[in-house]
């Protein structure tokens, strides 16, 4: 009779079928920045199944409690799991029914603990999370990766956004951006991502969070320009190619 090989080793546990090995349905970059009144966050509404742009109306940003906004890239089912954890957290916070409430810093810390502990069990939640919020006038913007790396900054981005959007933000972000300027800056970043990120979809939402609360915009598309002269006769320099 065939015995199960003992060579599983120390890295696997009996519940191996439960471990996250690779993501299936993923969201691409999230970009966020601090502006005068709070935080602005942008994410497209695409859910890719590998290289197929399978789902085109996925909300990748959700409000958490009264003070926070969470955006996620990576495995969408893990994002939904995280939303359930946070739902429970906020529920218990509200059940205390006292004047205290969890602010963005606390939620960010909590998420860091969750992500790091899952990573230690070799069963990560395959997400890069952006947590922004305002509480009592204090703006907060932070990021947590799937291995539990976390930090705060004036502008953050996940995935491709780190490579394409952040250089723009480093150059053009400044303290006390107006709402219009903030949106323009985010749209500039999202446009670059749309042109250059294969998993980007031209349908995005921008969310804003201020002391008054969270507003997530209706989905809309960015205008793109393809009328470059090089595109009109692409084989000009190399006859016979395509």
């Amino acid at each position: 009779m065939e015995q199960k090989p003992f060579s599983r080793g120390l890295l696997s546990s009996e519940a191996d079928s439960q471990r996250t090995l690779y993501p299936y349905v993923t969201g691409t970059s999230v970009v966020a920045l601090k502006y005068k009144d709070g935080i602005l966050m942008a994410a497209d509404m695409g859910g890719s199944y590998g290289s197929t742009l399978r789902y085109k109306t996925v909300e990748r940003m959700k409000s958490i409690g009264k003070h926070s906004l969470l955006g996620a890239s990576g495995e969408l089912s893990d994002f939904q799991e995280i939303l359930r954890y946070l739902d429970e957290l906020i529920l218990y916070d509200n059940m205390w029914d006292d004047g205290n409430s969890l602010g963005p810093k606390e939620v960010h810390s909590y998420l860091t603990r969750v992500m790091y502990n899952r990573r230690n069990k070799f069963n990560p939640l395959w997400n890069s999370l952006v947590l922004g919020g305002v509480k009592n006038g204090q703006k907060y913007l932070g990021m947590v990766s799937m291995i539990g790396v976390n930090f705060e900054d004036d502008h953050v981005a996940t995935g491709f956004g780190n490579h394409l959007a952040r250089p723009i933000l480093r150059e053009e972000w400044h303290e006390n951006l107006s709402f219009e300027d903030g949106v323009k800056l985010l749209e500039k970043c999202m446009r670059v991502l749309l042109y250059r990120d294969r998993s980007a979809v031209n349908k995005l939402q921008i969310a804003k969070i201020t002391d008054e609360g969270v507003t997530v915009s209706q989905p809309y598309s960015l205008k793109t320009f393809w009328g470059f002269s090089a595109f009109s006769n692409p084989t000009a320099g190399a006859e016979g190619s395509w």
Binding site: W96, D98, N100, S101, G103, E106, S109, R113, N136
Partner: protein, 272 residues
């Protein structure tokens, strides 16, 4: 008082609807040496009478720092108090680790109260024999709570527990309306005067009393003996004068609670 029949264990009600074991536990609090707390909008002060059992021994520790923003003074079985302080410290540090934020004192107090309640409903346990004056800060400002062995907790503007605390309460009842806007120094002065009231004639020295302060921008800390002695000297030189009580029309709901302890002596304590 004829109440010996139903007091054998904590899970037995008396016909009058009382749990005698819990009430006996509250007696233990009354036997402990006095602890006093007062708060303003921004600061809270704790003061305790610290009598050593003999000249040769050291004083019992009655004030514990729980976190940078929370402290507790105990009266009653100090051993029980120590165990509960450790629980409180643990809760605070776990919360800080997970949320990188200080645990709101109001929530800690509820957790403490629930822990005490468990001991009033298990036949194999006994109630904690210690009363806790919990002071701390949260989003809404400075707070002073009293946690009872019964599992009840109350918020106060000022309160005193332990032996001869009634004398302190009388003094506090006269002055509490001004505490909200008191300065830190005045608050400490009032605390020391209250301690002196409980000493009933004995001279107030820093060797027999401990004072601790917490406030907005000021972490919880116990004042050292020298500082306390200086403060005592400062106001004793001025004399026993009490500055005239200005008419401040404060209508805070929790001020009514400062008067509540006076009612405690007669009726069953849990009726409050």
């Amino acid at each position: 008082m004829f109440r010996n029949q139903y007091d054998t264990d904590v899970t037995t009600w008396s016909p009058a609807g009382r749990l005698f074991q819990v009430e006996y536990a509250m007696e233990a609090v009354k036997q402990g040496s006095a602890a006093i707390g007062l708060r303003s909008k921004t600061h809270v002060v704790l003061a305790c009478v610290n009598k050593a059992s003999s000249e040769l021994s050291s004083h019992q520790k009655k004030i514990f720092k729980v976190d940078d923003h929370i402290g507790v003074a105990i009266a009653g079985l100090t051993a029980d108090g120590r165990v509960l302080s450790r629980y409180m410290r643990n809760e605070c540090i776990n919360y800080s680790f997970t949320y990188e934020s200080p645990l709101p004192v109001g929530r800690l107090v509820v957790q403490l109260a629930d822990k005490a309640q468990v001991c009033t409903q298990r036949s194999w346990k006994r109630p904690y024999g210690v009363g806790l004056l919990v002071v701390g800060l949260d989003e809404l400002g400075a707070h002073l709570y009293y946690n009872c062995p019964s599992g009840n907790y109350f918020e106060y503007q000022a309160f005193a527990i332990g032996s001869r605390s009634q004398a302190a309460k009388t003094y506090l009842e006269r002055r509490f309306e001004n505490f909200t806007d008191s300065s830190r120094e005045d608050l400490i002065k009032d605390a020391l005067i209250s301690v002196r009231e409980t000493l009933q004639g004995e001279k107030l020295k820093s060797s027999i009393c401990t004072v601790a302060v917490v406030g907005i921008g000021e972490a919880f800390h116990i004042l050292d003996q020298e500082t306390v002695q200086q403060l005592i000297d400062a106001f004793e030189i001025v004399g026993e004068d009490e500055p005239p009580v200005p008419e401040v029309g404060d209508a805070e709901a929790d001020q009514a609670e400062a008067a509540a302890p006076a009612a405690e002596e007669g009726a069953a304590p849990m009726d409050i």
